[in-house]
Point group: C2
Chain length 192, copies 2
Amino acid sequence: MDARQILKEHIAKTTSLTEDQFDYLFSHFKLQTYKKGQVVIREGDKVDHEYFVLSGCLKAFFINDEIKMYILQFAMPTWWTSDYAALYNQTRASINIDCITDAEVLYISNQDREKICDELHQAEHFFRWRTNRGYLASQKRLLSFMNNDTKARYEELLKLYPQLYNLVPKHLIAAYLGVSRETLSRLYNAHK
Amino acid sequence: MDARQILKEHIAKTTSLTEDQFDYLFSHFKLQTYKKGQVVIREGDKVDHEYFVLSGCLKAFFINDEIKMYILQFAMPTWWTSDYAALYNQTRASINIDCITDAEVLYISNQDREKICDELHQAEHFFRWRTNRGYLASQKRLLSFMNNDTKARYEELLKLYPQLYNLVPKHLIAAYLGVSRETLSRLYNAHK
DNA sequence: TTTAGAATGTGATTTACATCACGTAGCTAC
DNA sequence: GTAGCTACGTGATGTAAATCACATTCTAAA
């Protein structure tokens, strides 16, 4: 399936657009391919774009004290990613985003998104729902962090994204769960 | 300041509405006053409304195993609160919301919000930004959870909401930070 | 005023996890 | 090939915080 069709079907799940409206929206996106390991956003960068993943897997992460890595999000196909705090507040990136695998993305500038939202009520509707979905996911993860122990969070993650188990190295899963790779390894092996 | 004016100024920060547009929007809100301790949403309830706090302080919390409480949000004046997962997905409430102090709120039904967003592009714009702000706050808190130790999170919280220190009991602050009240007490007294 | 229930402080013990240390297996490059 | 890097496993030890237990203060109701 081509990029245009993937985005179109993604939007159609929550918002009805005419062919012309979608074409207009789509004309503001650009396609980019990345190789495994390539950096999309580096801490300290100016952030102008947000990214819609077509294929592959990206990670958004934070490095503490130049040592510890915490993964905020694995961005899988049809997920959106960026440093939204930097994007909306016009500040420098405080997180990094790079590619765990080869990847294809569509990207759009903050300016263009705001312009289209202003011009096209339905686009504003779509982006409200997109943000809403992100908000609910973030709240759910926060609750899980407070409420569940590491083992339960690990099982929850694999249930939600079974692909991750084979796709990404275990130490990245540990960095998502917020535990050391050693703890995850022990948990995982004691488990059965 | 009256309810109408508080909401009006709150919206004006991000969105321009004519007097007529605001009047129309405002006509869908109802005023409610609560006494300290009153319940707004109880786990298992049907959730039809979201709430805009005019005065006082509410808490949104989750009870685990009938024992441990985790606070998702302290809702202060000009903050919005509800069980949004339940509200948007039309499921029963999985969290509770009640009043830490006497409080006044404006509330609107999910149906009316969606209706107004549909009718009035500027309303959709406002609610996109409102949700966006919540998303950014939630991401920031998640990062803080992973990145900072309890003491740093405690200081961060008091810096963000100095009023909380005198307004709410310490065990609620502990429940927000995700630590036991004993740990918070020791931390707080060792601190100086 | 008395009484009961919250809210808070503090010691003793246990526990989950981080950290350090070291080992092995597998992939990639030259 | 082999040299080097990354991923991953596992033991030993240290530590922050949970948990349990009990005392004290404060508040609100009878």
